[in-house]
């Protein structure tokens, strides 16, 4: 009987291919199989609350902290980060390409009423996007169905939609680099420090969920945070680019 744990994860890490890189290394080393269920952030957290996973690996810090505070998780640790970018069509109808100022870019998009595809699914990315709008003093949902289009889908589906309708979209860099259907699209806005995207990992509380494989789960978390794990993350590249930047406190 093979030893395994279940990790509840967001789709961005899976879509980027991170697990295909990390898990064989971990399996080689420990003989433990890590089974990843990649779903929306909310669903991942809900599943973990239902004790249907041993480890939670997402990027929505406030929600993660709430998860721990309510006793569903043991502790939360930073694992790695990358950044969000705004991607858009080559035609650049809002004229934001090359900008490093997110607020200015969002304002111009609204001014131009250029289509913008929002995740609209309460995911970590979606929450980050809403925070950016708010910081810019804009309520885009007033124009929902107009230029502001809430796709209510995962990152990949939203990017497919954005490309299909020539709309700007906020995405994490890893998802974008790994994305295969870019069409004429490219990164329009990047480099603003408000675009920081932190990933965290949490062991599901064995007190709340007796079925949790606490030992194996903690072992995986420890490895992720260890030098070996952190350098494995740093080694992961797609199209020659590093997608995730390890920043565990211990390292």
């Amino acid at each position: 009987e093979e030893k395994f744990i279940i990790v509840q994860s967001t789709t961005s890490t899976q879509n980027a291919g991170l697990y295909d890189h990390l898990l064989p290394i971990y399996h080689e080393k420990t003989g433990v199989e890590v089974r990843v269920v990649a779903v929306g952030t909310g669903q991942a957290i809900k599943n973990a609350q239902n004790c249907d996973g041993d480890v939670l690996f997402v990027h929505a810090k406030p929600a993660e902290e709430k998860f721990v505070a309510e006793g569903y998780g043991v502790t939360r640790a930073d694992v790695m980060y990358n950044d969000f970018v705004i991607v858009g069509p080559a035609a650049d109808p809002a004229g934001v390409a090359g900008s490093k100022d997110v607020s200015g870019a969002l304002e111009r998009i609204k001014q131009a009423e250029a289509p913008f595809a929002s995740r609209g699914d309460d995911s970590g990315t979606h929450k980050a996007e809403l925070a950016l709008w708010q910081a810019s003093g804009i309520d885009p949902t007033a124009d929902s169905g107009g230029w502001y289009r809430e796709t209510g889908s995962g990152m990949g589906a939203t990017l497919n939609s954005a490309v299909g309708m020539g709309a700007y979209a906020l995405t994490d860099r890893a998802s974008w680099i790994a994305f295969g259907n870019k069409g004429s699209f490219g990164i329009a806005v990047e480099g603003d420090q408000r675009l920081f995207n932190q990933y965290g990992v949490i062991l599901v509380s064995p007190e709340n969920c007796p079925n949790v494989k606490a030992e194996l789960g903690q072992q995986f978390i420890d490895w992720l945070l260890s030098d070996a794990g952190q350098s494995a993350i740093a080694d992961f590249k797609q199209h020659g680019q590093q997608l995730f930047f390890p920043n565990a406190k211990t390292s």
Partner: protein
């Protein structure tokens, strides 16, 4: 189990609230579904009957293909329609992507093989009985098909309901070509998928219950119509 209870609670609360967004979503669901099934019937009924009646080489192969197409994966249909309708695609000029029309097209493609295959079976069974009579009468192909479709209409209702069921609950294809855009292409199933991914499981389930209720309502209406028609029938 409390989730199920909560789901029913949510469903009732939603229905009672008469939420405008919900009504919009339900309306679009019904519009897309009925249009798609109507389209699929328009193609599938005569095609299925023709397959049942026809005696041409390759008929078995055609029947097999139609049967196999019942297994068309929604995501694949969605992708295919997406690639056709996307701005870069051959039908891009129509600008149909992310509109209800695109959803109708995708669902019709998904449902048509089901209608066709089941119609073929139902009509073939009846044809076994009528074949020699109609040939002895010298009925032409089209008249034969019309006669069979008409006389099998009550059995074909189950066929249409199967197609309706398929369309009503479908999400994979329409979310790709419709984009689940709020106030534009958001329907019941895409909303359910969305709420699920948000982790709002009991809300999702509540919406599911409403959708099943809708299916029950439609089916009840159809069965009611059917039995009153059957009573008045034999015109």
């Amino acid at each position: 189990m409390q989730d199920f209870g909560a789901a029913f609670g949510q469903a009732f609360a939603l229905i009672l609230s008469g939420d405008a967004d919900l009504l919009e979503i339900i309306g679009l669901s019904l519009r897309v579904t009925f249009s798609a099934v109507a389209l699929a019937c328009l193609v599938g009924l005569p095609l299925g009957a023709a397959l049942a009646v026809g005696r041409f080489p390759g008929r078995m192969a055609a029947v097999t293909v139609v049967n196999a197409l019942m297994g068309l994966p929604p995501v694949v249909v969605g992708l295919g329609v997406y690639l056709m309708l996307s701005s870069a695609g051959p039908l891009g000029v129509l600008q149909l992507l992310y509109t209800p029309s695109a959803m109708i097209i995708a669902q019709a493609i998904l449902v048509a093989p089901i209608i066709t295959a089941l119609t073929r079976q139902v009509v073939e069974d009846l044809h076994g009985e009528y074949d020699e009579l109609l040939r002895a009468m010298g009925a032409r192909r089209l008249a034969t098909i019309a006669t069979l479709l008409w006389d099998a209409r009550y059995s074909l209702m189950t066929t249409a309901l199967a197609g309706l069921g398929r369309a009503l609950g479908e999400v994979g294809a329409i979310i790709i070509v419709g984009g689940n855009i709020n106030h534009v292409t958001r329907v019941m199933t895409t909303t359910i998928a969305l709420e699920t991914s948000k982790g709002n499981l009991s809300l999702a389930l509540g919406l599911g219950i409403i959708l099943v209720g809708l299916a029950l309502l439609v089916n009840g209406l159809v069965m009611g119509l059917r039995s009153s028609a059957a009573r008045l029938a034999y015109a």
